[in-house]
Symmetry: C2
Subunit: 304 residues, 2 copies
DNA sequence: CGATCGTTTGACGGTGCTCAATCACCGTGG
DNA sequence: CCACGGTGATTGAGCACCGTCAAACGATCG
């Protein structure tokens, strides 16, 4: 139980070490076929010749609150989440942890660190999770041997970049309620994409992690939860969240910043299916708050 | 050819149409060798056999404020910035523009939209810029023919994912001054990486775009600029920014949110070179502000 | 059953958002 | 040449949301 002897090589990539000393297991349990991974990555393996899909891949199991890898450790392995969920955390120098993203099944971990060779984030499991392991050494040959994997990887990375934009949108919202609403919508969409229920969510992360991702205080997250609940948009019982009024939640999620008074920049694509002019927030809260953002109303009245 | 006949397919990928009708030129001017692009992408083409590096690629020129592509248009081309800079903008339904990123030479545009086939952002040139064009059709064959390009692309995407994390850190800062400081540091690092001066910056974007990226009001950006200038950290004249005290700026950029009071999560890598305990912000501003974030002091005193 | 952590709620103070006016800069046209 | 409208940038005033501190409640686990 004494990790004292090897304490000086913290930050090494020896996961066996971590699993042995810290009990935060990252042991190999079984292997899986490449086809299984492609299935998780939402690639239909029905075109082309499935020649290499029987290649075996190691699978790791990560216990709750355990780290799949640590910030600063060398990136010698890429991971694809098979089950469960993790959070990517960056501890910024002075010791504060910033949650960068939550990842679920089918998502790739570690790709952002490839060009440096060192992980820039820590990946902490929010629950007991399993991941496929892909040594970076064999990454090239694997892509060459299996075009399907190559395509799946490209799509996964594309999705990841895309969702990074969503994250920016998340934090760009002004009001804390809107941020939380966007987060719930984002989570709902992810659950739906994974085949789960879109309105019955079970949060795997604590309030503080949500707060960190959203860029607010964790008390504010609590308050925003009760706000949304008071408005009848959601029903929240601890970490179980029911989305009662998805459309209303989507309404609350609007209110971005940065007026598009536009002027001469014709960068608007011909979008014909935008929502008709409607009030950006329904003032039916008990305390009758949230009536700011006059710019929104101003702009909308201008268009009307 | 008269582009009138194709006017009904606005949102089509016909850039010639746009260049002809809107006068916001995106015309092809010349071609370039693949080796040139790899050079911009910071890949040393000195190992392996440079067999395919003479492949010619089309180069487009984008005028200032012109769109390289629009949100919603089909993604049939990938772009690599050769010179200049652009901003990626997502107009979120109600017409508000959210700046997601600023991109410069060597960076890839459009990869995040590959998996959907439609661009999720608009790319607007901040100045006269040139880009290499890579048809997605020939993307696979090009990667297969040129392993060097494959490697360069992978590295570029990895960098892009990495900087997405930096963006999240940008917006995660609490105080507006800290956000702006982080932005300036980020920009300085980018300029330095591009071989430019690290302390003499010329902002290509307007205050409003910075504000949008940082998630604050554009007036706040102005105020933060004067704040940093009053502290002697920077000297700002319109869009010309001189970084006078990089270390002080880095100090102002600290102050993250989300306390790492930690408890039982040993996810901290052994960082031996953190700054010694010191006051998080020097109180030498004229108005003597910015003395909040007691959590920082609390944590620091705890470690002492 | 008790200890620890997560969650919630309250109160207070401050920062940043909104509105508004002013100035600087630029291209156009008189 | 200067007047003029337009955009961008700066500054000020007022207000309220949110961060901090504090305490209480609840849940989970040994």
């Amino acid at each position: 139980m004494n990790p004292v002897t090897t304490a000086h090589i913290v930050g090494s990539n020896d996961r066996q070490f971590w699993s042995a000393t810290r009990r935060r297991l990252v042991p190999v349990t079984e292997q899986a076929r490449l086809a299984d991974m492609l299935h998780v990555m939402q690639l239909d393996t029905h075109h082309g010749e499935p020649e290499n899909l029987s290649t075996m891949l190691p699978v790791w199991c990560v216990r709750k609150d355990a780290a799949l890898f640590h910030e600063g450790s060398p990136t010698d392995t890429l991971y694809v989440v098979r089950s469960g969920s993790l959070k990517c955390v960056k501890s910024s120098e002075d010791g504060y942890h910033q949650v960068l993203s939550f990842v679920g099944p089918g998502e790739v971990l570690g790709f952002e660190s490839l060009h440096r060779g060192k992980h820039r984030t820590s990946a902490i499991a929010l629950e007991v999770s399993t991941v496929f392991a892909i040594p970076v050494q064999s990454l090239g040959s694997l892509r060459q041997q299996s075009p399907l994997f190559d395509e799946a990887l490209q799509n996964a990375i594309s999705r990841q970049l895309d969702s990074a934009g969503d994250m920016a949108e998340l934090m760009a919202a002004v009001a804390a309620d809107a941020r939380l609403a966007r987060f719930l919508i984002w989570l709902s969409a992810r659950m739906a994409a994974a085949g789960q229920s879109a309105h019955r969510l079970r949060l795997r992360m604590c309030r503080r992690d949500i707060a960190s991702l959203l860029g607010v205080a964790h008390e504010t997250v609590s308050r925003s939860f009760t706000n949304l609940a008071d408005e009848g948009l959601v029903q929240v019982l601890n970490r179980d969240v029911d989305i009662l009024d998805a459309e209303g939640l989507r309404l609350r999620a609007r209110c971005t910043r940065g007026v598009a008074d536009d002027g001469a920049a014709p960068i608007c694509v011909p979008q014909a299916k935008v929502a008709p002019p409607r009030v950006p927030a329904k003032p039916r809260a008990s305390t009758a708050r949230l009536n700011w953002f006059p710019n929104v109303e101003a702009s909308e009245s201008a268009t009307a």
